[in-house]
Amino acid sequence: MTQGPALTDEVRAMIGATSEPDILEVERGAIRRYADAIEDPNPLFRDVEHARNSRYGEIICPPGFFGWPVKRSGRMGLTAKVREALAKAGYPRLLDGGVEYECFLPIRAGDTLTAYSKIADITEREGKTGKMTFTITETTYVNQNGDLVVKARGTMICR
């Protein structure tokens, strides 16, 4: 058996914790900067005229983009608390493990989204370089009409 840190009560107590909601504004300029950053020329993300004539009627977000937070305290605050607890438990190093999205509606420029996050699970596993922990954060994005637009499930690795 490899000796290593174990999940502390403080860490375990975070499972099920929920965040204050995040509010995100979806602006055309933020969408374009995002598309520019990945060098995606798709006119649905940047050409207002093209978007008007598309089935969406407005510029939409590329997958995985949710606009810019008006305040970023919710999800980030929640995962920061988990990270702090994991660091104290002997897992100070952070890596992004991956993400899973389920999309229900397009996100259009001009939308305002509210995001609710929850720590769904925290587990530990033996990795190649010792013990690692996996924190699953579930986030639900709802638009200004109260419609569910996306559910996200992110994995944060601390080791």
Partner: protein, 163 residues
Amino acid sequence: MPLIERQGKVEKQLYFEDVEVGSEVTPLAKVATTQMLVRWAGASGDFNPLHYDETFATSQGVGSPIVHGALKRAWLGQLMTNWIGGQGFLKKFSCQYRGMDYPRKMKTMTEPEEGETWWCKGTVTKKYVDGDQHIVECDIWVENGQGEKTTPGNATVILPSRA
């Protein structure tokens, strides 16, 4: 706008009838540069110094600054939205950041040094009709310059039908 011209045009509309199990998702080439990582940080709001600070990256055990997992995820998003066209809808989309990737350094203010090119690829694993929805499932991934899949994932799309 050299930024836009470097990548191909968005493809014409794909229909459910155009794909079979085993069909290839049109591959997409990408070059991660230190400059792209800076732009990504600004556009996404991920300011983790792991992606731009040599000393910090070394202290975290990854050697030097690494490509953001979420940037590779965004490339895979582009792979799919290019392929499914304006009438398609990306229903589900996931990826895991399994392997580290290291960006090319910049040679000039606009041109990267010679080096690695990444490829986003995919294959169709399943197609079926559910109610009035024509659904196609794919394995997708980012491949590094050595052909290793550093970022594997899955996508489920709804395509228009000619029927």
